[in-house]
């Protein structure tokens, strides 16, 4: 069988992510201590788990509506309004998905005709460009820069605009850099976006994990943006529910109407037990979410100071749970740095270029670990740097 001929060229052209490659390398080394995980270390809060158990006990295991349990969509509508002050109609403007990832996929497929361009700021989460390609679109990369604190600037958008530009992916708070777009940053880019006809796919999965005095602001809150924004979020990060596979998107009804067809034919509906449990998450977990956020924040300060003290410049991440220190001073590439650190000190961190070429010269360090774990890992990285110098 000629499998190459059998399988789609588009799919074969898509590469596995650099993260997977690094996972394969790290798996060959024993007793590794990892700072490479993109998911919370906290267990899902008990109230949520209990609700899932109750749902199973009652035998509520049938399909739900395609767009998700009405009760959950109502709770989501209230939750979104409570968090960012925007009203979305639970009947027509909110759809529950299998994680934020499915919502991202649906968005690209709903927007792209062959050849349509989608702007993707990098470094960023690894799924955007491959999913755009598989949806028939053309990813156009915007390289964000350290000197701008990895924020997206109006000029960077303007430079990449063409008549074929269909959408902009808006990945803030950002994985892997921890960059956040504050309200004044959003105002500036919105001014450029308003002059175009493109959609904004705002991936706000880390929105709840925004540190500092100002809360997370969605780009959909800025004037003229809601009508073109597909707001994507999920339960994985804020509620520590990665394995429950539950996300959602909110957008104007003409957009959700089309996206619903994709979701309905491909998925039917999100897992029922997860959906019932998610209602409890939205209504009973504010305290837990805040506690986890405070813990991340303490770790964030600890890790950033640790890197700066050992001479690896680390810009101040304001969101998510990653630090993105610069390793250029060592003269190594990101991949060399990570491989050598892994082999000599058994610490796994991810090379920055796994998140796009502009991540070269940086490494992603997850702080979704206990302080004790972080402390040990930082000590080992410091030893590694000393040995590099000698």
């Amino acid at each position: 069988m000629d499998y190459e001929k059998l399988l789609s060229d588009t799919v074969q052209d898509v590469k596995f992510s650099g993260i997977r490659k690094f996972f394969d390398i790290a798996s060959t080394v024993e007793n590794v201590i990892s700072l490479s995980v993109g998911e919370p270390d906290f267990k899902t809060p008990w109230v949520i788990r209990k609700e899932a158990i109750r749902t199973l006990e009652k035998g509520k295991t049938a399909y739900t509506a395609n767009s998700g349990l009405l009760q959950l969509r109502r709770s989501l509508s209230e939750y979104i309004e409570r968090k960012i002050g925007l009203k979305y109609d639970p009947d027509h403007e909110i759809i529950v998905t299998v994680g934020g990832s499915e919502a991202i996929d649906c968005a690209f497929r709903a927007l792209c005709d062959p050849g349509d361009e989608v702007l993707i700021p990098e470094p960023s989460f690894v799924c955007y460009a491959p999913l755009v390609k598989m949806a028939g679109g053309v990813p156009v990369i915007i390289e964000t820069k350290l000197e701008n604190n990895f924020k997206l600037t109006p000029d960077e958008i303007r430079e990449k605009l063409t008549p074929k530009t269909k959408a902009l992916v808006f990945p803030y708070p950002n994985n892997p850099t921890g960059a956040v777009m504050r309200r004044d940053d959003l105002e500036k880019v919105a001014a450029v976006i308003r002059e175009t006809d493109m959609a904004v796919i705002s991936d706000e999965i880390y929105g709840e994990l925004t540190y500092g005095a100002e809360r997370h602001v969605s780009i959909a809150e800025i004037e003229g943006m809601k009508e073109r924004t597909i707001l994507i979020n999920g339960f994985s990060k804020a509620f520590s529910m990665t394995g429950w596979r539950l996300g959602y998107f909110a957008a104007p009804a003409p957009i959700t109407g089309q996206m619903l067809k994709i979701h309905q034919y491909a998925i039917m509906c999100s897992p029922t037990v997860s959906q019932f449990a998610a209602v409890a998450a939205l209504t009973d977990c504010d305290g837990e979410v805040l506690r986890m956020k405070e813990e991340y924040n303490a770790r964030r300060r600890f890790v950033v100071k640790g890197f700066n003290d050992m001479g690896l410049e680390c810009f101040e991440p304001e969101g998510a749970f990653y630090a993105f220190p610069c390793i250029k001073s060592t003269g190594l590439t990101s991949e060399e740095f990570c491989k050598r650190l892994l082999n000599s000190k058994k610490v796994a961190i991810v090379p920055g270029d796994a998140f796009g070429a502009s991540g070269e010269g940086f490494v992603r360090v997850s702080y979704a670990y206990s302080l004790a774990h972080l402390n040990t890992a930082l000590q080992r990285i410091e030893e590694f740097l000393k040995e590099l110098k000698n």
């Binding site: 996972f23 490479s36 993109g38 998911e39 989460f125 303490a298 300060r301 302080l371």
Partner: protein, 165 residues
């Protein structure tokens, strides 16, 4: 953060890891090293923090060493109740903890010995013979699973994949 909150957080953090430096505590708590030093001094002076110790896996240190938990029944004395006898027991270096308990016995005593015989001798010759001790029941610890918040069990290992996006 208010003074009381900082104090409570410092206690929580030190309870978990007493080796955190003042500088590290300051970073974690978003305050100054001076503030941390001041709070810790106060906690030490007012007797909230009474010492710092390592959490030891005794098994690893010495295979023969044993730890015993002893239920002690005593007859309370006029005026001082259980205090005098509890203090007398606490004097012994082998004794780790002495606590007055509610329930079916009075004092709980834990102690470490280099071997079984040492503990047996201590109970027979020094503890049971004290004036006021009515009876003792000695329990030896067979296996430790968690010690001061540190879980020994392997199933508490990180379930997450080593590397993920």
């Amino acid at each position: 953060m208010k003074g009381n909150d900082i104090m409570k957080k410092i206690v929580d953090l030190l309870r978990e890891n007493a080796r955190l430096t003042n500088e590290q505590l300051a970073v974690i708590l978003e305050t100054t090293e001076e503030e941390v030093a001041k709070e810790i001094k106060q906690l030490e002076e007012n007797g909230t923090i009474i010492g710092y110790s390592a959490i030891i896996n005794e098994e690893q240190l010495d295979k023969n060493a044993v730890t015993a938990f002893i239920e002690v029944k005593v007859s309370p004395q006029v005026e001082c109740g259980y205090d005098d006898i509890a203090k007398a027991i606490a004097q012994y270096d082998e004794v780790d903890t002495v606590q007055l308990m509610s329930g079916s016995f009075d004092l709980s005593v834990t102690l470490r010995g280099n071997n079984l015989r040492e503990v047996a001798l201590f109970v027979n010759e020094r503890l049971a013979t004290l004036d006021g001790v009515l009876s003792t029941t000695t329990h030896f610890i067979l296996q430790r699973y968690k010690e001061k918040g540190v879980n020994f069990a392997a199933d508490e290992a990180d379930e997450r994949s080593l590397v993920s996006p």
